[in-house]
């Protein structure tokens, strides 16, 4: 871990003021930043400890939504009674991730901004365009079991590892940020980006911008939802593929369905176009399969991760079934409903 200046601002304004500069990092829970700094993957010259900022509350929004403060720990978010009741999908997704200890330290803002778990990104002895632009992508043609099948580029095939963000994508969350140029509200769909030819850019946050909160619009997805996470062991492992589904069923037809995938791309993967295939349909394996094919259109494997394509296809169908039948996946009982 390199040497850095440490500051601990008391207000958001102070933080943002200190936050400009190339190698400046905000430090929240530290579960990702400190990890990366120990590996010399990230070497900030200034670390701004934002933990004392007043961004640690969950508040009601006008119109029935909730604002999740950027510094609210993941566990407090998942176990907040309002979140549990109104956004059980989000609770479930958060509880599917990391470990209780990590969720206690990890914050909502940090979770959004956590970086990929690509083996090469983490190992400074290997090439990686994301870590060291122009050094090449080690994962292409290498060990890429955990890598992307959708939206990758010839420069980077990394995935975004978050579980929480997959649920946020389905819930049409809005990321509230503030920065040198003032406040912005970024729809979650536009927050993370695909690697393209700038793989070092994970998201659309501008230099110095600070996430202050995440807004959850008022939605009623409390019955027909699920978060299904498929991974290499039954807990404490990142998703190979995960599927978040929120659905509204009226009578016997699907009035609305939203689906996002985790572990398959540089951002939570969602297609509102494909979701139209579900709208107005009866829940059925055929409908679900057709949708899965549409959502996975263009999926390509990188050899070691080829299996993710059929896994995602089957996972989508199963998750849709879970949501339609109102039998959401339990995160403790590992039997898949």
């Amino acid at each position: 871990m390199n040497r850095f200046d440490y500051t601990r601002p008391a207000s958001v304004a102070e933080a943002v003021q200190a936050g400009t500069g190339e190698q400046v990092r905000y430090l929240a829970g530290g579960t990702n930043l400190i990890d990366l700094m120990k590996e010399n993957v990230d070497q900030p010259t200034t670390v701004i400890d934002i933990n004392r900022l007043p961004l640690n509350a969950i508040e009601e929004l006008d119109g029935g939504g909730l604002r999740l403060g950027a510094l609210v720990p993941n566990s407090d978010t998942a176990w907040d009674a309002r979140v549990e009741q109104r956004y059980p999908l989000l609770s479930s997704a958060i509880l599917a991730g990391a470990s209780p200890q990590l969720r206690n330290a990890a914050t909502n803002g940090g979770n959004l901004n956590q970086r990929t778990r690509c083996y090469y990104f983490y190992d400074v002895a290997t090439p990686c365009n994301k870590r060291k632009p122009g050094s090449g992508c080690g994962a292409i043609g290498g060990v890429n079991r955990i890598h992307a099948i959708l939206g990758a580029s010839d420069q980077c095939i990394a995935t975004h590892p978050s579980d929480m963000c997959v649920a946020l994508a389905v819930l049409d969350a809005i990321v509230q940020v503030t920065g040198p140029e003032g406040d912005r509200a970024i729809p979650i769909a536009d927050y993370h980006r695909l690697p393209g030819d700038e793989p070092w850019r994970d998201n659309t946050l501008r230099p110095g911008e600070l996430v202050t909160g995440i807004d959850l619009p008022a939605e009623d997805f409390t019955k027909n939802y699920t978060y299904l996470k498929l991974r290499d062991r039954l807990s404490y492992a990142f998703a190979l593929v995960s599927i978040a589904v929120a659905m509204r069923i009226e009578g016997s037809t699907i009035a609305e369905a939203r689906v996002a995938l985790g572990g398959v791309a540089h951002k939570p993967w969602r297609s509102t176009e494909a979701e139209k295939l579900l709208k107005g349909q009866q829940p059925s394996p055929q409908t679900f399969s057709a949708f899965a094919d549409a959502l996975l259109a263009g999926a390509v494997g990188q050899c070691k991760n080829d299996f993710k394509i059929p896994l995602a296809r089957k996972g989508i169908v199963r998750a849709l079934k879970q949501a339609a039948e109102a039998t959401p996946q339990s995160q403790t009982d590992k039997r898949i409903a």
């Binding site: 871990m1 390199n2 040497r3 850095f4 200046d5 440490y6 500051t7 601990r8 601002p9 008391a10 102070e14 200190a18 430090l27 829970g29 530290g30 579960t31 400190i34 990890d35 700094m37 120990k38 590996e39 200034t46 670390v47 400890d49 933990n51 566990s75 176990w79 990391a98 470990s99 209780p100 200890q101 990590l102 206690n104 330290a105 039954l234 807990s235 404490y236 995160q331 403790t332 009982d333 590992k334």
Partner: protein, 170 residues
Amino acid sequence: MSIAVNSATYAAMPIGRVPTKLTINGETRTRAIEPWTTLLDLLREGEDLIGTKKGCDHGQCGACTVLVDGRRINSCLKLAVTLDGADITTIEGLGQPGKLHPLQSAFCDHDAFQCGYCTPGQICSAQGLINEGKARTREEVRELMSGNLCRCGAYTNIIDAVLDVIGEQV
């Protein structure tokens, strides 16, 4: 190396170190700490509280679990300076030889360890789990203890021990 700290309290601190007040196992200690020191390294190397173990240094094993203000976290990923004012409980603070914490006794009785290296982390984690109050069934305890690896494979005995203590408290 210069350090910018906005609060007036820290205006006079020595260069490179941040005065930090930590209550560790009930005892308040003020230390001038380099910002890059983790809570884990501070405990082990600075305070000789070696009961908190380092199994990976990257949040991947749970051996370093301690309680900060009653909540379990991985001390390896926490910079000590960020915890100014916090109340920290390590395994040494839970119980001592001759005055064992119920979890410590239950671990002994269930032979819930072999090499013992993951044990302090398991016990602190279990205390955190009890504080959270979310786990009742065996399945729930298993899931919510999954942040603590045990390479010796004492898992079933650990769960038995934790359930014993949870059962007693219900």
